[in-house]
């Protein structure tokens, strides 16, 4: 057997034969494997960077929102048609009308039963059937349901914990939903107050002015809100008298009066804009005007009165109302004031009696309006941020974006407020008692992995059908992924890995073909040389060793060039795309002010090792058949033919 050193000397000479063919092979094969290495490095870099950035946001968490499944779509219908409840409502209504009639007589004011809607009504599908009216203004239905179901919890938290623990749940938390008191409004007063009143002539328009901020609030735990907070809670102090709030970016834009960015703005423009927005948001404090239903009613009546008087300005026979109201300063958050009052003492007494009657039977007659101060402490993604995609950037934005946060009050900050009673009018919750004693909690379960979260949803949750039933039947929960596409991102990573593996297989086939041509031809071309070697005493194993070393050398050369090309490729790709993708990712993740970068250079030792291994394996696969044939041939014939 010849020595390894001697074999290597001869193997290296083989690399020097057929230089053009060898160089072409090295280039082609190394470009192929280099492409795979670039793909590996780039995808690894992207996913590692995204993982790194995801740690700063909800996209790294597998959070599932859970609510109770409604298996019987007719449950509410059956409840409202319960004859016992309907009979009880009728009796209570009769008693109330009797009491109101008696009190109206005592106070000397007019009252008819027709002005009071009954707590029941005919059903739309069957005129002979009576059902309870859930919108009963006298609260008879509400009280009835509260008495009957108020003691039954609507959700069994212990059971959820027990079931979710089977799927390795790591945390349970909830946010609580509140809204401004029914019939009231909370509105950021417009800068152009005059225009506001000029354009407002109905209750609905006044109420719609609260659209800058929503009249629903969520008090959310730090598990959710932490990722959206501005630095140092934007300087908010518990004693500042301001309610801390996280607002969507577009709401903050409106409050700041910033123009919206064009849809097709570049990602850099978007991120720069976002940074400006964040800077300005840190100092943003604003007030919203709360008005109760009486205040809203009086504004509406005043507007109608002004309209009526204006319509009769030239009518000499028109008699103006005895009390004429004036609209308040649009920036003052006050209720209308009395401009002139020509009522007689009797008329005034009648009005007072009516007021007493209304208050006695629960109608709010005292206009209340005041400013509620807010301090922006965080930014959440825009409400319209997830939209139909017009470009790949939009798709990426949508994929990376966090959704479902919107307008939230961080619970950890809210708990520090010394006097929470000042928010009693805007943070209200009224259960309907249709499904027991419902609470205002939105429950969340966090899982350790995407797989656990998906399994929980697949095995424990049902899906609402067109008939409002939830199928598969018997499931306890309706559950879905919350806030982010974390599971999808994981799935994309998994799919990318699979695609990479399939690509490797494809590359192996191509590489084997290319290397087969070169190595195979080199071995076939070397038949005479093999024959001479055999003639001067080389054993078959000696010849094989030379070719094995030649193949290893060629493969390692290809692998080295591939590694070089792959690295250069990923550096080039990184240079071209990293900045744009970093901007894209920062924007997509909500511009959390992270200094982290997306880099398209990442080392997945396993993948790159696999590519290099495949490279050498491809060489061996190419070598074996012709070598096997060569060493078995008759050297005399090969010398003669060579």
């Amino acid at each position: 057997m010849i020595t390894l050193r001697d074999s290597m000397v001869l193997a290296v000479t083989k690399l020097r034969t057929r230089k053009v063919r060898t160089i072409i092979t090295i280039l082609l094969a190394s470009m192929l494997f280099g492409l795979l290495i670039t793909a590996s490095m780039v995808t690894t870099g992207v996913f590692d960077s995204i993982d790194n950035i995801r740690k700063d946001g909800l996209t790294s968490q597998y959070i599932v929102t859970v609510s109770k499944a409604r298996n019987d779509p007719l449950a509410v219908q059956k409840l409202l048609r319960d004859p016992v409840l309907v009979d009880e409502a009728k009796q209570r209504y009769t008693a109330l009308v009797k009491k109101k009639t008696s009190e109206a007589e005592r106070l000397g004011i007019s009252y008819t039963q027709a002005s009071d809607l009954p707590p029941y009504m005919q059903t739309s599908d069957d005129a002979s059937t009576i059902r309870l009216n859930i919108n009963d203004p006298n609260g008879i239905v509400y009280n009835l349901l509260a008495q009957k179901y108020g003691g039954q919890p609507a959700f069994n938290d212990a059971q959820l914990h027990s079931i979710a623990d089977r799927y390795h749940a790591t945390a349970f938390f909830y946010s609580q939903s509140y809204s401004v008191k029914q019939g009231s409004s909370l509105a950021v007063l417009p800068k152009d107050g005059e225009k506001f009143y000029n354009q407002t002539d109905s209750m609905s328009n006044i109420s719609s002015q609260d659209s800058i901020i929503k009249s629903q609030f969520t008090i959310s735990p730090s598990n959710i809100t932490d990722y959206f907070m501005l630095p140092n809670d934007a300087g908010w102090q518990p004693s500042s008298g301001a309610l801390p709030i996280i607002l969507p970016k577009d709401t903050v834009e409106q409050l700041l009066g910033l123009p919206q960015l064009a849809d097709m703005a570049t990602t850099t423009e978007k991120l720069n804009y976002l940074n400006v927005l964040r800077d300005k948001a840190e100092t943003l404090t604003f007030s919203a005007c709360y008005r109760n239903s009486a205040s809203l009613n009086s504004i509406q009546q005043t507007l109608q009165q002004q309209k009526e008087i204006a319509a009769h300005a030239n009518d000499a026979t028109y008699k103006k109302p005895p009390v004429i109201y004036g609209l308040p300063d649009p920036f003052a958050c006050q209720s209308p004031f009395i401009k002139t009052d020509t009522r007689t003492i009797t008329e005034k007494q009648a009005d007072e009696n009516q007021k007493q009657f209304d208050q006695e039977f629960g109608k709010n007659t005292t206009p209340i309006s005041y400013f509620v101060k807010f301090k922006v402490v965080g930014l959440s993604p825009s409400t319209q941020e997830v939209k139909q995609s017009r470009s790949l950037n939009d798709v990426i934005d949508n994929l990376l974006a966090t959704t479902g946060i919107e307008q939230a009050i961080p619970k950890n900050l809210y708990d520090q407020i010394p006097d929470k009673s000042r928010y009693n009018d805007i943070l209200t919750y009224t259960p309907l008692y249709l499904f027991g004693s419902e609470d205002n909690k939105q429950r969340y379960v966090e899982f350790a992995t995407a797989s656990d979260a998906s399994r929980f949803i697949d095995q424990q949750s049902c899906v609402t059908q067109y008939d409002n039933s939830c199928k598969p039947t018997g499931r306890l929960y309706q559950a879905s992924l919350a806030f982010s596409n974390s599971v999808a991102l994981d799935d994309i990573r998994s799919k990318a890995t699979s695609i990479f593996q399939y690509s490797v297989v494809g590359a192996v086939v191509l590489a084997v073909i290319i290397m087969w041509i070169t190595i195979g031809r080199t071995i076939v071309d070397g038949r005479r040389e093999t024959a001479v070697f055999r003639a001067i005493g080389f054993k078959r194993g000696d010849v094989a060793l030379v070719y094995v070393l030649y193949t290893i050398s060629l493969s390692l050369l290809i692998a080295a060039v591939a590694l070089l090309l792959g690295s250069v490729g990923s550096v080039i790709v990184n240079h071209i795309y990293a900045h744009e993708l970093t901007t894209q990712a920062r924007y997509g993740f909500g511009g959390l002010g992270t200094a982290k970068q997306i880099t398209l250079i990442g080392m997945n030792s396993w993948q790159i090792g696999m590519v290099l291994f495949v490279c050498v394996t491809a060489g061996f696969l190419s070598m074996l058949p012709p070598l096997f044939r060569n060493v078995r041939r008759n050297p005399i014939r090969d010398m003669r033919e060579g």
Binding site: L10, T13, R16, V532, I536, G537, F538, K539, N634, M639
Partner: protein, 242 residues
């Protein structure tokens, strides 16, 4: 020249090497090939004895079986029938591995077309034949230098084959054949591609090997001048001794 060997020669039990006695014995060998389905007889009942240190020329027309006879003597091929004993070794009884060892250590081959490696310099080309014998590096260098001196190529050791003439290439091939100090040199038309001057030089080298190293040389040739320099001439015609 040093006749010592770095490895043991292959010998059979029944024969031993004795000065003046036959080193090569061919007994009634035949060789038939199948060519395009037809049976072709290349050798038919050839018997021949060659003594140690003898210079034997095999002559005969093309197709008479000269090359086939040399290949069988050198262990490159096996006869269809008959026996070949070289330096006491019955070739037909050797395994492929032992036959390789035999070719490396007992026989030195010289071919008409030299068959040097184009990407190895002369020194390496000579060294190639020493590789299977695992001759030590220092000894290799020494022997290469000696052989290069002997064949007149001492100043050409770093040259590549493309830089040498035909005569120089064949002399290099002879040096390669001699590096393991073989008992027999088998040369198949070694002067077929050479001019008369180079032919003379090559023949002189063979004679020198016979004389100084007691090496047996068996050469197939068409050249009467080469044959005339041999101790003995064997004529082959139609696969049989004439």
């Amino acid at each position: 020249m040093d006749r010592s060997r770095n490895t043991k020669p292959i010998r059979t039990q029944e024969a031993s090497s004795i000065e003046g006695e036959d080193i090569l014995s061919v007994q009634n060998i035949s060789k038939t090939y199948k060519l395009s389905g037809n049976k072709v007889t290349a050798l038919n009942g050839v018997s021949l004895q060659i003594k140690r240190g003898e210079f034997v020329a095999i002559i005969g027309p093309s197709g008479s079986g000269k090359s086939t006879l040399l290949q069988l003597m050198g262990g490159l091929d096996k006869p269809t029938s008959g026996t070949i004993v070289v330096d006491g070794t019955r070739l037909e009884s050797l395994s492929d591995r032992r036959l390789s060892r035999f070719r490396n250590q007992t026989v030195g081959f010289v071919f008409q077309f030299f068959y040097l490696q184009p990407f190895l310099n002369l020194s390496r080309n000579i060294e190639v034949a020493a590789m299977p014998s695992r001759m030590k590096k220092g000894e290799r260098k020494k022997r290469i230098a000696q052989l290069a001196q002997r064949v007149g190529l001492a100043d050409r050791l770093t040259h590549y084959p493309r830089e040498l003439s035909g005569g120089q290439l064949q002399r290099a091939a002879i040096a390669r054949a001699l590096i393991n100090n073989p008992h027999i040199i088998i040369a198949d038309e070694p002067t077929g591609n050479l001019d008369s001057q180079n032919t003379q030089e090559v023949v002189d080298l063979f004679r020198q090997a016979c004389r100084e190293l007691n090496t047996t040389v068996v050469i197939a040739t068409h050249d009467p001048m080469v044959a005339s320099k041999a101790d003995r001439t064997v004529i082959l015609k139609d696969g049989a001794l004439a």
